[in-house]
C-alpha cells in the first residue's frame, strides 16, 4: 500500500554523522501515514529545489525555522491579507506556511494540458445548455442534472455571450493521489475565489525569503494577470476599455481579495449601487457624472446580479444589467455557467468529452455516480461504505445536513438507514464519489517539517486570443486535520504557495514586461461617487479623531493648573462642554471629574464621538478604499489605540500625544504618498472641512461672553498656535489677535482661513459636470465663505458672525454631498417590491 517513505537520493549529502540540519533540513523529514509525499516522490532535479529552498530558509533563520512564521505573519498582515469565515465580524489573519509546494515544469505541463481540455469541454457543455441543448435531446445529459442546479439561469437560454465565450476565468480544485495522479475535486466557474490569495501568498513569501524563490527556478505569475486583463478587454469594441470589478461589498467574505485584484488589474472596484443602466448601456456614477463601463468582471452570483432578470429582492445587483449584456456589455463570466458546478455533472463529463470533443478526459474527476440513474443508484447503495455521499446540487437534503458530504463508512446505523430511505425517495438529489487519498507535503510546524495532506486550486484565464493560460502556480490548502473538501479556508487550515519549478530554464531574470504599446496616462481612472464619498469621510473621521484627542489633551493640561487658578477651572468646563457637543462625552456628565470626561472622550466605545469610535469608523471606511490606499497608510490605519492606565491622567495624556503623532504620520503618508488626483482631493477636502468646523465650534464654545487668558491659551493650543502667537505679539493672549490667528490668518495652517483657501483650491480642481465655465454650487459657496473671512475685522467679530460662518460651512458640506456623492435614498439602496395583485 504505502509508497517508499524516503527516496534514495535524499540522503546523498549525508556524511558519517548524518546531514547538517542547516544544509539539508528536509533530510530529517519523516513521513506520516501511508500516502505518498509530493517531495519524496519528486524527480531528482525537483527534489534539489525543495532541499535548496529548505536550506535557504534555515540559513535565513539562522537554523531556527520556527522564527520564520512570525516574519511571514507580519508580512501577510502588511499586505492586508485577511479573510472571513461566514459569521465572522472581523477579518482573520491569513495563515501562510513558509514552505511552498514545488511542482516540476513537466508535471505541471501535463496537468495544465488536462485543465485546458477540461475548460474547453466545460465551455462547450455550457454553450450547449444555453444554446441548442443537443446534449439533452441526444440523451447524453439528463435534463434534471441541469434544472436541478440552483445556478441554472433559464433566463439566459438563447442569449449568446458578448465576445462568444461563456467562460473567461476558470478555477479548479485538484488533489494529488497517492501514486502521483491528479484528480479534479470540483470546478469553479462562478467565482475564482483564491486567485488574489495565490498572488498575495507569492508576494509575501518572496518578500520574506528574498531571492530564494528565484534562485531555485520558480516561475513568475505576472503574465497570467496581463492575459486575464487583455482577455476581457479583447471583447470590448473600443481599444482602451473601462473595465470594472463588481463586488457584493465589504461584508463579502472575499472583499479584501477583490479589492486587491482590482488594484492589481487596474479595474474600477464598484458595487451595484455605483452602476446604472441607461438605454442598454452601463455607466458608473462618478464625481464627473456618468462614465461608460465596457466590461464587468463580476464577483456577484447570477441570482443577485440583476433584480429585473433574476431575484427581484437583490439589493446588490444592477437593474437591467442583463439587458445591457445583450446590447454588447462584456460580462465575465457570463451568467449561468455555474450550472456545471453541480456535483452531479462530473458523472457525465467523461461521456460528454467523447461526444463533444471526441477525446478521452485527460484529467478525470474522482469517479462519480449520480443516483438519478437506476444502475448508478444500485451501485451506490451496494457500495455505500466505500464511497462518499454528496448532495447532487449542494442543497441541504435529508441525511446530509447543510449539504455536507459524508463518507458512507462514517454513518451510524440510524443515519445510514435514513440516508438510504432518502435516496430511494428522491434519488436525483444524491451523488456518490470514490474516496481519494491525498498525498502529503512537507509543512513547517513549530520549526519542524511535518507531512500534511493538501489540495490545490489552480486558475486559468483566456488571453486576448481566447486561448487558455494557466496561472504558473496556485493556491494550496494544507490540512491541519479534517475534511479539506468543504470551503476555501476553514478554521485551522493553513495555506501554502504552489510553485512551478523549471530546472531546465536558464537562471531566471527579472523580466521587464515589453508590451507592444502602452498608452501613457496620468489620470487615475475614474473616481466613483461612492469612493469619493468614502474618501471624504475617511478624511473627516480621521481629522475629528485627531481634534478630539487635542481637546482631551488641552483639558488635561488645564486640569493640572486648575487647582491654582479659578480661570483655568472655567476653561476646563468649556472644554468639557465642547467634548459633550462633539458627542465624545455623555450629556449628563456635568458632575463628572475632568479625568473621567477625558478618559471617556478618548476611549469610550459607547460615545460615538470618542476617539476610539471615530478611529473605528475611520478604519471601516478605509476598508472600502483598500484599492486606493498605499500599503503604508493601510498599515498605519490599522494600528490599535495606544494603551494607557485607566484613571491615570499622565498616562491618558501620553496616549493623546502618541495619537496626535500618529495622525501626523498618517497625514504625511496621505500628503506624500497619494497622487494629486481627485481621490486625494476628496480625502483632503474632508480633512480640511472637518478641521474648519471644529475650530469654529471650539471658538463658539470657548470665547463668547468673556474669555480669560487661560481660555484663549487653550484655544491657541488647539490650533498649535501658542508659539507663533508669542512670536508675533510678545504678550498674553487677547481676543482680537487670537481671533485673527485662529480664524482669519490664511498663513496659519491650522487656522480656519487656511482650510477655506485649500477647500476652494480643491473644488476648483475637481472636474466639472458640465464644461460651461460656470462654477458649481460647492465652489460658489467655498468662494463666498473665503471672501467673507477675508473681509472680517478681528476687532468686530461677534457671535452672530461666528454662527453665520458655521451655517455656511454646513451648507458647503451639504452642497458637496449633493453634487458629488450618491444621493440620500439612492445611497441607502433600493427597496424592491413584491406585490400580490
Amino acid at each position: 500500500m504505502s509508497e517508499p517513505l524516503i527516496s534514495a537520493n535524499m540522503s546523498a549529502d549525508a556524511d558519517l554523522f548524518g546531514p547538517d540540519p542547516a544544509s539539508d533540513p528536509l533530510a530529517y523529514y519523516a513521513l506520516q501515514g501511508g500516502g505518498a509525499d509530493v517531495f519524496a516522490a519528486s524527480d531528482p532535479a525537483i527534489g534539489k529545489a525543495w532541499r535548496r529552498f529548505a536550506a535557504g530558509l534555515a540559513a535565513q533563520s539562522h537554523g531556527d525555522l520556527a522564527a520564520l512564521q512570525p516574519m511571514l505573519d507580519s508580512q501577510v498582515d502588511d499586505l492586508g491579507l485577511a479573510f472571513r469565515l461566514t459569521g465572522d465580524e472581523q477579518e482573520r489573519p491569513w495563515p501562510l506556511n513558509p514552505m511552498p509546494i514545488f511542482i516540476g515544469a513537466a508535471e505541471w505541463q501535463t496537468l495544465t494540458d488536462g485543465l485546458v481540455q477540461r475548460a474547453n469541454l466545460l465551455e462547450r457543455v455550457i454553450a450547449d445548455i444555453y444554446g441548442n441543448q443537443t446534449l439533452i435531446r441526444g440523451g447524453h445529459l439528463p435534463a434534471a442534472v441541469v434544472s436541478g442546479s440552483g445556478n441554472f439561469a433559464r433566463r439566459m437560454v438563447g442569449q449568446m455571450p458578448t465576445g462568444g465565450n461563456f467562460l473567461q476565468v476558470y478555477a479548479v480544485d485538484l488533489v494529488r493521489g497517492p501514486s502521483g495522479e491528479w484528480r479534479v475535486l470540483s470546478d469553479r466557474v462562478r467565482l475564482p475565489v483564491g486567485i488574489g490569495y495565490a498572488l498575495q501568498n507569492r508576494l509575501a513569501l518572496a518578500q520574506v525569503t528574498g531571492g530564494l524563490l528565484a534562485s531555485v527556478g520558480v516561475r513568475q505569475q505576472t503574465g497570467f494577470f496581463d492575459a486575464l486583463r487583455q482577455g476581457i478587454a479583447s471583447h470590448c469594441r473600443r481599444s482602451d476599455p473601462q473595465i470594472a470589478l463588481l463586488t457584493p461589498g465589504r461584508f463579502n467574505q472575499s472583499y479584501p481579495e477583490q479589492a486587491h485584484l482590482a488594484r492589481k488589474l487596474g479595474f474600477a472596484l464598484v458595487e451595484g449601487r455605483d452602476l446604472t443602466v441607461r438605454e442598454g448601456r452601463l455607466f458608473v456614477r462618478t464625481i464627473a457624472g456618468l462614465k461608460r463601463i465596457h466590461a464587468v468582471w463580476r464577483w456577484i452570483n447570477t441570482s443577485d446580479i440583476d433584480p429585473m432578470s433574476f431575484d427581484a429582492r437583490s439589493q446588490i445587483g444592477v437593474p437591467n444589467l442583463i439587458a445591457a449584456a445583450s446590447e454588447g456589455l462584456v460580462l465575465a463570466n457570463w451568467p449561468g455557467g455555474a450550472v456545471v458546478e453541480s456535483r452531479a455533472m462530473p458523472a457525465f463529463l467523461p461521456r460528454l468529452a467523447r461526444v463533444l470533443l471526441n477525446e478521452e478526459l485527460a484529467l478525470p474527476n474522482a469517479a462519480t455516480w449520480w443516483c438519478g440513474g437506476e444502475q448508478e443508484r444500485a451501485h451506490v447503495l451496494a457500495n455505500l461504505d466505500q464511497l462518499v455521499i454528496s448532495s447532487a446540487f449542494r442543497r441541504a437534503v435529508v441525511g446530509l445536513a447543510d449539504g455536507r458530504t459524508r463518507a458512507g463508512a462514517s454513518l451510524s446505523a440510524l443515519e445510514r438507514s435514513e440516508l438510504v430511505a432518502a435516496i430511494a425517495r428522491r434519488p436525483i438529489d444524491y451523488t456518490a464519489q470514490e474516496i481519494v487519498n491525498l498525498s502529503t507535503t512537507p509543512t513547517l510546524a513549530q520549526g519542524q517539517f511535518e507531512a500534511r495532506g493538501f489540495t490545490v486550486r489552480a486558475f486559468l484565464a483566456r488571453d486576448e486570443n481566447g486561448q487558455w493560460t494557466a496561472l504558473q502556480g496556485g493556491f494550496a490548502r494544507v490540512s491541519q486535520q479534517g475534511d479539506l473538501r468543504t470551503s476555501l479556508m476553514g478554521m485551522g487550515d493553513i495555506s501554502a504557495d504552489l510553485c512551478i519549478v523549471d530546472p531546465t530554464a536558464p537562471e531566471p531574470q527579472e523580466a521587464i514586461p515589453t508590451p507592444e504599446f502602452v498608452s501613457i496616462r496620468r489620470e487615475q481612472g475614474l473616481l466613483s461617487s461612492q469612493s469619493a464619498d468614502n474618501l471624504f469621510w475617511l478624511g473627516r473621521y480621521g481629522e475629528r479623531a485627531h481634534q478630539v484627542a487635542r481637546i482631551v489633551r488641552a483639558l488635561l493640561s488645564e486640569f493640572s493648573t486648575a487647582e491654582q487658578s479659578p480661570a483655568a477651572q472655567t476653561t476646563t468646563q468649556k472644554l468639557s462642554q465642547l467634548l459633550r457637543q462633539l458627542g465624545a462625552a455623555p450629556k449628563p456628565s456635568a458632575n463628572w471629574s475632568f479625568a473621567r470626561i477625558a478618559e471617556t472622550a478618548l476611549a469610550s466605545a459607547e460615545q460615538i464621538g470618542s476617539v476610539r469610535s471615530l478611529l473605528k469608523r475611520e478604519l471601516q471606511t478605509a476598508q472600502l478604499l483598500r484599492d486606493r490606499l498605499t500599503r503604508d497608510s493601510w498599515r498605519s490605519l490599522q494600528r490599535t489605540m495606544p494603551s494607557y492606565l485607566p484613571g491615570d491622567i499622565e498616562s491618558i495624556r501620553a496616549a493623546c500625544d502618541r495619537l496626535i503623532e500618529r495622525r501626523a504620520t498618517l497625514a504625511w503618508l496621505f500628503a506624500d504618498g497619494m497622487s494629486r488626483g481627485p481621490a486625494w482631493r476628496f480625502l483632503d477636502l474632508g480633512l480640511k472641512l472637518e478641521r474648519g468646523s471644529i475650530i469654529l465650534q471650539a471658538v463658539q464654545q470657548i470665547v463668547p461672553g468673556s474669555a480669560s487668558a487661560a481660555d484663549l491659551s487653550a484655544l491657541l493650543d488647539l490650533v498649535d498656535g501658542e508659539a507663533s502667537y508669542r512670536g508675533r505679539y510678545l504678550t498674553m493672549p487677547f481676543i482680537a489677535p487670537v481671533f485673527d490667528m485662529v480664524l482669519l490668518d490664511p498663513a496659519h495652517p491650522r487656522g480656519l482661513a487656511y482650510q477655506l483657501v485649500e477647500i476652494e483650491q480643491h473644488l476648483a480642481a475637481i472636474p466639472p459636470l458640465v464644461d460651461d465655465g460656470m462654477p458649481e454650487q460647492p465652489l460658489r459657496l467655498a468662494r463666498q465663505l473665503r471672501a467673507k473671512v477675508e473681509t472680517i475685522d478681528a476687532n468686530k467679530l461677534g457671535p452672530g458672525t461666528l454662527g453665520e460662518l458655521r451655517t455656511l460651512l454646513h451648507d458647503l458640506s451639504e452642497a458637496i454631498s449633493a453634487r458629488y456623492f450618491l444621493q440620500g435614498a439612492e445611497a441607502r439602496g433600493r427597496e424592491p417590491t413584491r406585490l400580490l395583485a
Binding site: I136, A143, M308, A312, P832, T833
Partner: protein, 297 residues
C-alpha cells in the same frame, strides 16, 4: 367557454419613487386548450421603455421602465380567451412510472417536467410537509387518483382564511397553521409532490366570477387565483388541480402563467428607489361570454 377578463391594478406612493422598473406578468401565456382572442395591457403613466418577452417559465413578461419620478401607477390588463374543458383521458400511470418517465424526458423547456422537480425559492423542501403527504403518494397509486387525494386532503384539513398569511409567509408556516389562501395551498401541494419526486408547478390565473346557474360561487374569484399543475406522465402531461376549491381544473379556470412557484409568475415585481407603495387596489372582472354557436345547437 369564452371569457373576457379585465384586471385593474393601481399603486399609489406616499412620495414619488425614482428609477422605477417593473416586471408585469398579467397577460396570458397561450396554454394548450386556451385560445387568446385579444389582449391589451394599458399602463398609465406611459412608460419610457416597454419590452415584452416570453419566459423564462411559461409566462409572458412585460418590462416597464420609468425615467421620471413615479407617484402613481395604473395597469389595466384586458383580454378575451376561449377555454376548452379538458379531462384527463385516464387515471395515468403509477407514481413510480411517472418518476421514471419524467427523468427520461429529453427536454429542458419551460413546458418539460425537469424544471419542476426540485425545491425552489418559495416552495422550498419541508420535511413536515413531506411526511404528512407520504400516505397520499404511494408508489403504486395512479397519479391522477393520488393527486386528487392530496388536493382533497389540503381542502379538508386547511381553512381558507384571508389574512392568516401574507404573500411572504413561507409555506412551511402555512402548513403549521393549516390555514391560508390559494397561494399557500398551492405551495404546500407542490412541496408535497416534489418530496416524492413528482413534477409539480405553480399556476396563476383567474376563476369565473359568476357561477353557472345552480352552482355555488368559487372561492378566490375576486382576485388572481393560484392552483397546481401536476405532471402525470408522458401521455397525460400537465393536469391542473385546485386545492382551494377541491376540484380539477376544467373550464372555470383561466390560465395566465406557470412557474416553479409564485416568484416566477408574480403579477408585478420590480425595483425602484424610495418607499413601498402606500396603497394598492386591484379589481378583477371575469365575464363569461355567451357562445352563440353553442346556443344555436
Amino acid at each position: 367557454m369564452r371569457y373576457s377578463v379585465r384586471h385593474v391594478t393601481e399603486l399609489v406612493y406616499a412620495a414619488p419613487v425614482q428609477q422605477a422598473h417593473f416586471n408585469v406578468r398579467l397577460l396570458p401565456w397561450e396554454w394548450d386548450g386556451h385560445r387568446l382572442l385579444e389582449t391589451r395591457l394599458g399602463v398609465l403613466p406611459s412608460p419610457d421603455d416597454r419590452a415584452d418577452y416570453l419566459g423564462p417559465y411559461c409566462v409572458r413578461t412585460t418590462q416597464l421602465a420609468f425615467a421620471e419620478p413615479l407617484e402613481r401607477l395604473k395597469i389595466v390588463s384586458e383580454f378575451a380567451v376561449e377555454v376548452e374543458a379538458s379531462q384527463p383521458s385516464s387515471l395515468g400511470p403509477a407514481l413510480d412510472k411517472v418518476r421514471a418517465e419524467s427523468l427520461a424526458q429529453r427536454d429542458l423547456s419551460e413546458f418539460s417536467p425537469a424544471p419542476y422537480l426540485f425545491p425552489s425559492r418559495l416552495a422550498d423542501d419541508d420535511p413536515a410537509i413531506a411526511t404528512w403527504a407520504q400516505p397520499f403518494l404511494l408508489d403504486q397509486a395512479d397519479i391522477v387518483t393520488a393527486a386528487q387525494a392530496l388536493t382533497s386532503a389540503i381542502h379538508s384539513e386547511f381553512s381558507y382564511t384571508p389574512g392568516a398569511t401574507t404573500s411572504t409567509t413561507p409555506p412551511a408556516q402555512a402548513f403549521v397553521l393549516r390555514a391560508g389562501v390559494c397561494q399557500d395551498f398551492a405551495h404546500v401541494m407542490i412541496i408535497a409532490l416534489r418530496s416524492q419526486e413528482i413534477p409539480a408547478a405553480y399556476v396563476s390565473g383567474y376563476l369565473r366570477t359568476e357561477p353557472p346557474p345552480g352552482k355555488s360561487r368559487l372561492v378566490g374569484a375576486d382576485a388572481m387565483h393560484a392552483w397546481v399543475n401536476v405532471w402525470c406522465g408522458q401521455e397525460l402531461g400537465w393536469v391542473g388541480f385546485d386545492p382551494t376549491n377541491n376540484c380539477r381544473v376544467e373550464d372555470d379556470h383561466i390560465f395566465i402563467g406557470m412557474g416553479r412557484d409564485y416568484a416566477d409568475v408574480a403579477p408585478i415585481d420590480g425595483t425602484f428607489i424610495g418607499s413601498a407603495p402606500q396603497t394598492m387596489t386591484t379589481s378583477v372582472d371575469v365575464l363569461p361570454q355567451t357562445d352563440r354557436a353553442r346556443i344555436s345547437t
